[in-house]
Symmetry: C2
Subunit: 156 residues, 2 copies
């Protein structure tokens, strides 16, 4: 491999830990750009690894690929986040994580107060019906990850 500073799919996959199919998928979703060899094979610039790290971090915080694409697209030049971009973005992520944690704590505390009482009630029990989480539902944006929402993930 002539060290041209460009990575093949296989190399990128190995270094990022992501399967090649995921890399191709990300590209198809507009999250990644690549150059091609004359033979139509992908070649990734080295900074794609940083971009992939960013994507993974965002996923861990609970963002969907759609949201991640939108976030990346808002950066000038479609560049991979710099230190300053990162500082800004991570601030909003912290908020998001705080909300998720708060929701789980509420759920756990509701559970504590239910233990032994067997109160499970559709209207009143904090565990079967955590009002403040459920209230997040609706047509608008929903920033809680699926697993933390008031209702289960629904197909449609």
């Amino acid at each position: 491999m002539r060290a041209t500073d460009l990575l093949t799919v296989g190399e990128t996959s190995a270094r990022s830990g992501l399967p090649a199919s995921a890399l191709r998928y990300y590209e198809s979703q507009g999250l990644l750009e690549t150059t091609r060899t004359t033979g139509n094979q992908r070649r990734y610039p080295r900074h794609v690894l940083r971009r992939l790290a960013f994507i993974r971090a965002a996923q861990n915080v609970g963002l969907s690929l759609d949201e991640i694409r939108a976030t990346l697209a808002r950066l000038p030049d479609g560049r991979t986040p710099t230190r300053e971009d990162w500082a800004l973005l991570s601030e909003s992520w912290r908020t998001r994580l705080d909300e998720q944690i708060a929701a789980l704590l509420k759920l756990r505390d509701g559970l504590e107060s239910c233990i032994g009482c067997g109160c499970l009630s559709l209207e009143r029990c904090a565990v079967s019906n955590p009002g403040d989480i459920t209230a997040q539902r609706g047509p608008g944006a929903n920033y809680l990850p699926r697993a933390l929402r008031g209702s289960p993930p629904r197909g449609a």
Copy 2:
């Protein structure tokens, strides 16, 4: 409606807040049992509401319907959980919630330490690669809800 102590689908839906289609789906998945009228319409015993509350609570804690079915099936007679059952189950749920909370806290703290440093690295960054969450993956049981796992939800 002759108050026969049995509820129609519509009534059960209204009282539980769940769409009738969800009730039928739960039944098809073995989570619910119903009796039928001579005309083949479903009639739910009143305690189905409690069972539905239980299902919803379990979902909020992060259990899949499969796990919930298994849990309910382990109760003698396939009965809806009593106060004692509930106390036992909620204890294991608490553990689960504690784990989820711990995972999120770890992620948030990793984020804190990253702010401003722009360190996003595939190998070292706690946010892009939270080792202890990722370590939970693998062939065995995985008790973290999807949104909190080291890798994104995968189709296959």
